[in-house]
């Protein structure tokens, strides 16, 4: 399977409690662009966006279940190609 570079995106609620999560996503996805819209942050990157539990935990200073991502997300463009205990990946498949 060849990887595609089409844009994927995640929209996250612009809230204080989501800041460590957004910082973690920024740290793990250097190409990420962030657009501010009223009430939400629009995160976009070419090809894929990765969220690592360990990076989020080190930003938060506490344990974090990948399921908690459900409390932050507003919308997305792409496909959840992985969602397990350690990692969430949004990408296009073909």
């Amino acid at each position: 399977m060849t990887s595609t570079l089409r844009q994927v995106g995640i929209d996250i609620q612009d809230a204080e409690e989501n800041r460590p999560l957004v910082n973690a996503i920024k740290a793990d996805n250097p190409e990420l662009t962030i657009r501010h819209l009223p009430g939400l942050l629009k995160l976009q990157a070419a090809g894929r966006i990765v969220i690592n539990r360990e990076t989020v935990e080190s930003q938060l200073g506490r344990e974090w279940d990948t399921g908690e991502f459900q409390l932050a997300i507003v919308s997305y463009a792409g496909n959840f190609s992985e969602w397990d205990d350690d990692q969430i990946i949004v990408s296009w498949e073909h």
Binding site: Q7, L40, G61, L71, I73, S75, A77, E82, E93, H94
Partner: protein, 509 residues
Amino acid sequence: MTQAKPRAKKLPLKERYALLTRDLDWEPSYVEREKLFPYTSYEGIKIHDWDGWQDPFRLTVDAYYKYQAEKDKRLYAVLDSFAQSQGHLGLADASYLNAIKLFIQGVTPLEYAAHRHFAYLARYLEGPAPRFAALCQSVDELRHCQTQIHTISNYNKYYGGFHSWSKMHDRVWYLSVPKSLFDDAMTAGPFEFLISISFSFEYLLTNLLFVPFMSGASFNGDMPTMSFGFSAQSDESRHMTLGLEAIKFLLEQDEGNVPIIQAWIDKWFWRAYRMSALVAGMMDYMLPKPVMSWKEAFELYFEDQMLGGLFPDLEYYGITPPRHVEDAIAEKDHLSHQVYKILHNFSFAAAFTTQTPSEEHSAWLSEQYPGSYDELYKPVWDKHARTEAAGGRIFFQGLPQLCQVCQVPMAFTEPDDPTAISFRTSEFTGETFHTCSNGCKWIFDREPEKFVQAWLPVHQIYQGNCGGPSVPEVLDWYGIQDGDNGEYKGSPDQRSWAEWHSGAPKQES
């Protein structure tokens, strides 16, 4: 940096999900499978292995309730603080509430309808994974309906027009647009429903339908609506996933499914897109502080994310972009203006008020629509403004012709000529039926037996089924009270706004 404590031992997510979802399923022993699941064969869709359905969220009952409870807790904290701090005083303007009235009349009842239909899918889909995903969505939709009513009820204490929205949804002309779309989906088979609501509505167009409402709420001082919106949207991400999973699953199961799915995408893209015309009018004209134009949202959420991102992915399965998508792109400079003109002309019979855009608002529209606004739409608004300055107000006298499919009044223009009304006809059993666009005509011609049964509000008035022949009788039957409708300037809401914002103390009655 704080060191995270060693994690408590528990089963990995994948195993937990497999145990709690699939392993709780069983093969029927004393009832034939076809009797247990009677609705999954007549649409022509072939499924060879229901276990091919993957839920990327890997949601289990315990996790579902844990996160949903947390979402509600956060939402209700916002609602409480808004009520306690007289948050209604922070609204940009009372005219903003017209957008919220359109929402509770047009969208909230759809949440309830979705709740009902996903409960049906949770019973009748054959695989345990899609059944469980449908069950979660059914509970979500009920939560959305309830939290929307609860949130919006806050404004009912201070402003008018929030009564009777459920009755209105069943009766009022512009609300037959969303209602008939959902009725169309619910009367289709379970697989078409998945492509209509889960894929076309939730995945393709949900961002265009919901995110603008919520960003608009945030920008116009409506914290509670923004909060319920984003709380609902977090569920929506799961629903989008269900939609995408459904389409990939159906396409992977059998090559014979591909043309069936393509035809449903062609139909439902246009159906959902036509309904979103109401959102286009709301975004560009009903928000005192507009956030983003319809055109920009369409380009960002539909052209970039869906045509640019999703459809190349689906091409792998032999799926092409929706039929008539070029017509939608061609009218992005016109849609919102044409729809709001309809609402403005007929708001004497609507359960919200309208107004001619202010000079400032008009300047914003001109900036957003350099290719169309100044030439085609501003002159009309300028004429309204002159009439109103002389003490008048133009309403259209008479009833409009409606499109047999989308039920929007026939006021859209040709994709290649914004000065000519797009007017299509089809013959069926000796009668002529009218549609507003190539898309709606194609949909009618594909299923004329279904669409001749449409409950068209204008026809129903003429047939004597809507309370009587005069406007006051019809409005009474709609549940519209004097002052809910018409012009915003001088309306009860505008007077209430002035009173709440004049320094004089006012008692809550």
